[in-house]
């Protein structure tokens, strides 16, 4: 029931015609604010303001009626700014639905339904089970570093202070996945095939990385377009190969969207895009053989990582807007005629501009943390390629 309400709320945020949007947002806001704690309310307010302004500005910049006003080098028009603000309001309504999902559909409630035997049930439930473990590991690491005098600064401006935390979190979560794979096989949940490499280990790693990516997206959900999940996908692909990267991307997107927006098919279309990013990261990792030797100059590795972060953001933006463009043209021409008339190039260009903050964030994060994370994984022993098990 709760899942259905969240699905309807998120769907309405997308398909409601513009005149109905504002009253709907008011009703939704009243409902959601009543359920949220102070911290979530602050996140919602921050998202609503920043999304509306960002969308307003970037939809206005370079639009078809541009030229009335100039903001710096960009020509903007009042009409386009209004359209942009409305897009921002729609995003705020969507975020309110997400907040409802996060408040109403905790992982704990979903778990019994997926606690069945076999691989599909394990994969479905693993991320839900792993999320609290990731949270516990993150909490412990944060406490340990705080106790030893490290100061964390909240928000994107304090991102640098979180770098010493990101690297060991990966190592810790993947170490635990390795240990848990023994328990998985012993409990008969993922039995080992005789003579095969550990299937449980492979799936435990996928679940752990997907849970990390989910946590990375949820942690910054109040900042439009900014997410830690690209970074997790990159590490998953480079460290464990293209198939693991693909699976992590797919599972992360599906899990986060189910948690946030219920069973909304619109969001599930983004899952293949993230899967593609994980796959490409894996292929790129094979080409560069990154972090395997540990001899690359740090400056070169940082530049390469920053480039990878920027490319992943651009690829996601282009692919996601292409899917949006196809969906709007074929499915929703009556509901959003202005969007339906917009050309592919215009939509993609505006999407790219909208993702500039995300691009900058990712480039900086990748430059600072990607190479140290890969090296730390290798040094800790959790990344050594698996030996063949001994036939009994």
């Amino acid at each position: 029931m709760k899942l259905a309400i969240v699905t309807v709320a998120s769907s309405l945020s997308i398909v409601l015609p513009t005149p109905w949007l504002a009253p709907y947002l008011v009703i939704e806001a009243v409902l959601v604010l009543g359920l949220l704690d102070a911290q979530a309310r602050r996140g919602l307010r921050r998202f609503a303001v920043s999304a509306s302004l960002l969308a307003g500005f970037f939809y206005a910049a370079g639009g078809p009626h541009a030229g009335d006003v100039r903001i710096g080098p960009l020509p903007v028009s009042g009409d386009d700014f209004t359209i942009g603000l409305l897009v921002g309001v729609r995003m705020a309504a969507l975020f309110a639905a997400f907040a409802l999902g996060a408040r109403w559909v905790p992982a704990r409630d979903l778990l019994p339904f997926v606690a069945r035997r076999g691989l599909p049930a394990y994969v479905a439930g693993a991320i839900l089970r792993t999320l609290p473990t990731v949270r516990a590991d993150a909490e412990r690491l944060r406490e340990t570093q705080t106790a030893r005098g490290h100061r964390f600064v909240a928000g994107p401006w304090g991102a640098r202070t979180w770098i010493p935390f990101v690297v060991p979190l990966f190592v810790s979560v993947l170490r635990r996945a390795r240990e848990q794979s023994i328990a998985l096989e012993l409990a008969g949940i993922l039995p080992q095939r005789n003579g095969a490499v550990s299937r449980a280990h492979r799936w435990a790693v996928v679940a752990a990385l997907a849970a990390l990516a989910v946590a990375g997206r949820l942690a910054l959900v109040a900042w439009p377009g900014v997410s830690l999940s690209y970074f997790v996908l990159f590490i998953a692909g480079v460290a464990y190969g293209p198939i693991v990267g693909l699976l992590v991307g797919l599972l992360e997107r599906v899990s986060t969207d189910v948690l946030l927006s219920g069973l909304n098919p619109v969001f599930l279309t983004m899952a293949p895009v993230e899967a593609m990013l994980g796959l490409l990261a894996g292929l790129a990792g094979r080409l560069v053989n990154w972090g395997q030797r540990g001899r690359e100059p740090i400056a070169f590795a940082s530049v390469l990582a920053a480039w990878a972060g920027a490319m992943m953001t651009i690829l996601f933006s282009v692919a996601a807007d292409t899917i949006n463009w196809l969906a709007v043209r074929t499915l929703l021409p009556r509901l959003d005629p202005e969007a339906a008339q917009m050309g592919w190039v215009a939509l993609v260009a505006r999407g790219l501009v909208f993702n500039v903050p995300s691009l900058v964030f990712n480039a900086a994060l990748f430059a600072a943390a990607a190479y140290p994370t890969l090296l730390a994984l290798r040094r800790s022993g959790v990344l050594i390629h698996r030996a063949r098990s001994n036939p009994a």
Binding site: R108, L111, P112, A115, R116, R117, G125, R129, P132, T133, A136, D137, R140, L141, E143, T144, Q145, T146, A147, R148, G149, R151, P164, V167, P168, V171, S172, R175, R176, R178, E179, Q180, S181, I182, A183, E185, L186, A187, G188, I189, Q192, S198, A200, H201, P372, L375, A376, R379, S380, G381, V382, L383, I384, H385, R386, A387, R388, S389, N390, A392
Partner: protein
């Protein structure tokens, strides 16, 4: 049995038959067993859990055996009642106390009725009330299955155990009947009586003061109206599992903000968290999940760097900590590649490197063999003269050394600390 780092945990992991298929284990050779199923409880109980709370841990395992959801829930409740965790069924696993996690891990590993049960330090973090009970449970289990226990303390098993193995430097050094086995012949496991100290606190400071402190965690009152004033010396903090010992230490380190009351560490209110690293150092209960650096050197240097020390001072502190805990041979290794006892030494050395006047230790003797316990005792003896050391522990040897003992029960202080007394050699 065997010294820290002798290979006990590696042997148990290998006996699961699965370790060779995992990265980083370095296990080679062949292994065979006719066991239908195996149960394994690792040294860090959290590593063996598959879910996020106690009830789901059982439900998941029972569902894997083909039980229906209602049946699985009913059975899970029954099992939780047996291990007295029914009221903690939905508490996140990382919020359970160390002893509660250990009880749960032992019960969960037996859900699928294994033929072989492998237990790595099963008494770690378990309080004195539960130890005999767990020993009986494990003894019962051994009546119908093969049970292998890796331990530093053979005493609970000696009467019932048919066989004792001793590993030294990764090789089987002794294999014989438990009856007649004399631990005193093997220095690495001969713990022996703890030598009393000949020191007493000399200074008036530092002080750790709790004034009517109440802390709540996840809706549960973990500390209630705790008032305590501790000065220099070794203070043992004792009490059953779940009494609030770890919460006490985390609150003293400024990691938990009390709902009411005030905590002052060396005169500084712990709510003003900046600069606390100069005054308080905390060693966490499970060392593995508290490491974050890529080498031991970086791990040890983290706090002194945050204290703003110049490079030469940091080096001097590292040298002292390395020497005190005999870590010279491992300095460029990743902390995860150490054995349980070596990790514990690293955690203690990290505390030492801060040179904070208030030292908070959570189960500091866990995983330490006899030689390393002596190392720890010597360190504490040196530090206790002018530092305030609070050790949450179930180890009677360490409690015997303490200048005073504070007992916590259900978040309240049950017995006020004894007066600090000068101890003399017996």
């Amino acid at each position: 049995m065997g010294a820290t780092g002798s290979g006990k945990s590696t042997l148990l992991r290998s006996a699961t038959g699965l370790a060779s298929a995992l990265p980083g284990t370095g296990v080679t050779g062949s292994f065979s067993t006719n066991a239908r199923a195996t149960g394994y409880v690792p040294q860090d109980a959290l590593d063996g859990f598959l879910s996020f709370d106690a009830v789901n841990e059982f439900v998941l395992r029972l569902r894997a055996l083909g039980r229906s959801l209602p049946e699985a829930h009913q059975e899970a409740q029954r099992r939780l009642t047996v291990i007295q965790l029914a009221e903690r069924a939905t508490v996140p696993l990382h919020r359970l106390s160390g002893g509660e996690r250990r009880r749960l891990a032992l019960a969960a590993a037996q859900v699928h009725d294994p033929d072989v049960l492998l237990l790595d330090e099963p008494f770690n973090h378990v309080d004195s009330a539960w130890r005999p009970r767990l020993a009986i449970d494990i003894g019962r289990a051994a009546l119908r299955r093969l049970v292998v226990v890796a331990t530093h303390d053979p005493s609970p098993w000696q009467e019932d155990s048919p066989r004792t193995l001793l590993i030294r430097d990764g090789r089987l050094h002794h294999d014989g009947p438990a009856d007649g086995f004399d631990p005193a012949r093997f220095p690495e496991i001969a713990i022996g009586p703890t030598a009393p100290w000949n020191t007493s606190p000399r200074a008036a400071t530092p002080r750790l003061e709790f004034q009517a402190v109440t802390c709540e965690l996840e809706g549960t009152r973990a500390l209630e109206e705790v008032t305590l004033d501790l000065g220099p010396g070794l203070h043992a903090l004792v009490g059953p599992n779940g009494a609030g010992k770890t919460t006490f230490l985390r609150a003293a380190a400024g990691l938990i903000r009390p709902q009411s009351g005030r905590i002052r560490a060396n005169g500084l209110d712990t709510r003003a968290a900046t600069g606390l690293v100069h005054h308080v150092a905390l060693q966490f209960e499970e060392p593995t999940s508290a490491f974050f650096a890529s080498t031991l050197r970086q791990e040890l240097a983290f706090a002194p760097t945050n204290q703003g020390l110049p490079g030469c001072d940091i080096e001097a502190r590292l040298r002292e900590a390395i020497s005190d805990f005999e870590l010279d041979a491992f300095m460029d290794r990743h902390p995860y590649t150490l054995s349980g006892g070596q990790k514990q030494r690293l955690a203690l050395a990290s505390v030492q490197a801060t040179q904070a006047p208030i030292i908070l230790l959570d189960e500091p003797t866990q995983g330490l063999d006899a030689a390393n316990r002596r190392l720890l005792h010597a360190f504490l003896e040196r530090q206790a003269t002018d530092r305030c050391i609070v050790a949450a522990t179930h180890d009677e040897g360490l409690i015997g050394l303490a200048h005073d003992v504070t007992r916590l029960c259900a978040g309240r202080i049950e017995a006020a600390p004894r007066e600090v007394t000068l101890r003399t050699p017996s």
